[in-house]
Structures are given as C-alpha cells and as structure tokens.
C-alpha cells in the first residue's frame, strides 16, 4: 500500500499504517548507508528543490544527502541572497522553481502552515522540513525510528519531552507520531513553556524533571533557543539548568536506564550536560544517521507513489 498523501506536511492525522510504512522502509535505507557505495538509483531523473527560508544546517544537509543518495538532482535555495529579499512571495518563488520542472519541494519556513499552503498552489510533492512552531515531521519520524531501533517497538514506551514545548515543532511532531503508535508521552518544562490544554493531545504534564524521570524510557531533550527570546520564559539559564538540566547526577538518582535524545544543536551544559550527551545512553549521533535514512524513505515513498 502506498502512502495515503502525496505530501508530507505533518504527523498530525497521519495513519498508523503510513507511519509504519515510512519507518519500515527506512530500515532498508539504513542498510544502504552502511554500504561501501552509499548510493542507490531510484530517484534518477527526479529533481528536488530544497527551499530553506530559515537557517538550518543539519536538516538541510540531511535532506540534501538523502536526495543525493537516492540519485536525485538537487536544487539548493536559501532565502538570503535570493529574490525573496526583493519582496517575492512564497507562492511566486515556488511557482518559478516549479516551472523549472521540479518534482519535489522540501520547505523550511518560519510561518506555521507554509508547507500546507505551498501544497495547494503547486503540483510537486511537498515535504515540510519545519514550519514555524507547527511541525517538523521528518524530525518526529527520525526520533521514532531511533527509539524503535533501540527498543524494537514504540507502543507502551514512555517518552518524555523536556524543554520549551510551546515553541517546539519537534515536540508537536513527536507527540502526534508517538501517540498514534501507542507510546505514552509526557512533557516537562516550566509553566511558561507548556502550552495550555496540551493534555488534550493525550500527554501528561510535569513541571519537575525529578518527578517524571524514574518512570521514563526515553528522554527527548529539546534545545533551549537562546537566540529567540528564551530569556523571557525563565529567570536565568542557571535556574533552568537546576530544574530541567539533564545531568548525570540526576539520571543516576532516577535509578533507571533512560535513553537520551536531542534534536541538536546542543547547548552543552544548558539543557543537557556534556557527560550525558556523550554517555552510552545517548543516541544523539544515531539520530543524525537515522535522519538521513528516514528522509530517504519519505522521498522514495512519495516519488514512487504512482
């Protein structure tokens, strides 16, 4: 069965079958990435445009690598130094790129809903690579893939997402995907960082990391976005670290083996201490490799949908 939608806009509303198909297919691509020649030909002759209206290093590189490893032709695009700075709208930019016979568009944009909008005005397949604080579906998928790789399943695992939930598209995509797959999901952070009524999504809310830590299997630690106005949401970095910083001492106190994930880039010794980030329970670097495999899976499944 092919994917239900011709776009990947978010994990909200995506069926269990579709999630399963993407994760299963990614296993094959993970194997390709271990080969001496890490390249396969299924997207030969297809052109993918990466439209990044927001800064991104790892997501863009990961997509670009995934596209090249599937033998697609890749167009790069960054908002700075393009006609966007001359006032061209998203629709016009995308239509112009599409006029060059592009088959797929990967979009990163600061506005929530940008990928949905784009999918309505162009014919190419659209993949959301992050839209404002709405969704970042491939990050959610790679986190799920990483957890499944470690535990062999997602159902009945307790995953706690720590940090600024309110402004995190990573958190939202994780919550939607994990809940659909039957995981128990909780969020943890200061009240200023937890959206009101988030319980409606079926997640538990904690305000103290030490309360939830003894019960979790996986901790997904979000980056504190120091460059945005994170400073307004809690009194000081020192105070945040004391209550929410994932440290070795805190982990040991929980008396339980907890897998630690982080979408990167890490603020070492702010939301996570260096020794935990580098510990044997950290799967942060696996997440990076899995990101390429999962993106290959999505690109492949969308382009061969028929």
């Amino acid at each position: 069965m092919p994917l239900h939608s011709k776009h990947l806009l978010g994990l909200d509303g995506m069926s269990r079958e579709d999630l399963q198909l993407i994760l299963d297919t990614a296993v094959s691509f993970h194997e390709v990435l271990e080969r001496p020649i890490k390249k396969v030909p299924p997207l030969q002759g297809k052109t993918v445009a990466n439209m990044f209206f927001e800064n991104s290093t790892r997501t863009r590189l990961s997509f670009e690598l995934a596209e090249r490893r599937l033998s697609a032709d890749v167009l790069g695009f960054a908002a700075t130094g393009s006609s966007v700075s001359k006032g061209e709208t998203l629709k016009d930019t995308a239509r112009n790129i599409e006029a060059m016979k592009v088959d797929m568009v990967v979009l990163r944009h600061g506005a929530a809903g940008a990928a949905h909008y784009l999918s309505r005005v162009i014919n190419a397949n659209v993949i959301n690579a992050g839209d404002g604080s709405h969704e970042h579906p491939t990050q959610g998928l790679l986190d799920m893939f990483t957890i499944r790789e470690k535990y062999g399943r997602l159902n009945d695992l307790h995953v706690c997402i720590v940090g600024d939930i309110a402004h995190s598209r990573v958190a939202r995509s994780n919550i939607f995907g994990l809940k659909t797959m039957g995981a128990r999901v909780s969020v943890c952070g200061p009240a200023t960082m937890i959206p009101r009524e988030i319980e409606r999504l079926g997640v538990e809310v904690y305000h103290h990391l030490d309360d939830v830590l003894p019960h979790v299997d996986v901790l997904n630690v979000l980056r504190i976005q120091l460059e945005r106005d994170a400073g307004r949401l809690f009194p000081s970095i020192r105070e945040y670290r004391q209550t929410y910083g994932v440290t070795r001492k805190r982990m040991e106190k929980a008396g339980r083996v907890v897998t630690v994930m982080h979408p990167g880039p890490i603020n070492r010794d702010v939301e996570i201490s260096a020794d935990v980030a580098d510990s044997e329970h950290s799967v942060i670097l696996q997440q990076v490799l899995n990101g390429v495999a999962v993106r290959m899976s999505v690109l492949y499944l969308l382009s061969t949908r028929g």
Partner: protein
C-alpha cells in the same frame, strides 16, 4: 484469473534439480572454497538457501549466504502503478574477490538480473558473478544468460510461471499457467 496449464516440476524433481545445480556449481568452481551465495528476494532467497544447504552437506563447509532486494535498482520503479515494498538487502559479508553465485527462481526478461548485477557491483568487486536459476523461460529483453539452469521451459510471453517453495507455499513445485482470462 489464470488457469493451470501444466506442472513443470514436481516436488521430487524440484529436489533433484536443486541437487544437480549444487553439484554443477561445485564442479565449475572446483569446490566451495571461494564461493558466496546471494539469493534474489523473495523466491530466489529460498532457492539459494536450499542450494547452499546441499553444497554445505556435500563439502562439509559453511557458506556465506545473503539476500538481495533489487527494488531500488528496478528500471520501471517510477512508472509502476503499485508501489513495491522494500524488503531489504541483507548481505553481511564482504563480496570482494569472491565468486558470487547469484540465484533466482525464474529467468525471464533479464531485467531483474540486470538490476541485481548493478546492485552487487555497488556492494563490492567480486572475482566472478555466476547466475543460477531454477527455470529459464526465455523472452530475454537484455543480453543476459544463466550459467546454471534447472530447467528450460518454452513459454509464450503471456503465460506465467509460478514457483512454489516449501518455506512459503507449503510445497515445492513449478507450474505453468495459461494467459490471463
């Protein structure tokens, strides 16, 4: 629906054919010293395991056995109506310098083998690649031939061959089916 036209190989014949193929492979390669076995998913994988088991018994040795999913290398991938599911390639050994015995159930247009050769070459540089098939039904569309053939079966292009193996289908047999009605 396709109706049965004839049983081409019965269960006893199936076993004998595999045994003969195994011996031919051993004869040509002067033993099993340098060979590795690769089956093409899905039916070829089971045929490969069976042939490998016979070789292992005869030669008192253990072989490296892997399986190849050629889906990503197909030449009709982007035009297909139904999305083929990836089953994954599983070759956990080094093929460099080895004699790879590539095994499939039916040799038909040759396109699957073309894809398999491309994939194998991306995995390394074997000394040789030799092709063994249970059935060769003709109608090649690319210049490919098998080194070891269980049975040559003349068919018309619109007939079909069904290979059943014990492991998935409950019995070993090869059936020739009438054209689709």
């Amino acid at each position: 629906m396709r109706r049965l036209k004839a049983q081409i190989i019965d269960p006893e014949g199936f076993e004998r054919t595999l045994t003969r193929l195994a011996h031919e492979i051993l004869e040509k390669n002067r033993g099993a010293g340098n060979i590795v076995i690769v089956g093409i998913r899905t039916r070829g994988e089971f045929i490969a395991r069976r042939i490998a088991a016979i070789i292992e018994t005869v030669e008192h040795t253990t072989l490296s056995i892997g399986s190849l999913d050629i889906t990503l290398y197909r030449d009709d991938l982007l035009g297909k109506l139904e999305q083929p599911q990836l089953k994954g390639t599983d070759i956990l050994f080094d093929i460099n310098g080895h004699d790879v015995i590539l095994i499939d159930d039916v040799l038909f247009t040759g396109r699957t083998i073309r894809a398999a050769l491309d994939e194998l070459i991306d995995l390394g540089r074997p000394r040789t690649i030799q092709l063994a098939v249970l059935v060769d039904r003709g109608h090649r569309q690319v210049p490919i031939r098998a080194d070891y053939v269980g049975k040559n079966i003349p068919t018309s292009a619109d007939e079909s061959i069904r290979v059943h193996v014990k492991e998935v289908d409950g019995e070993d047999t090869v059936l020739l089916m009438h054209p689709e009605e």
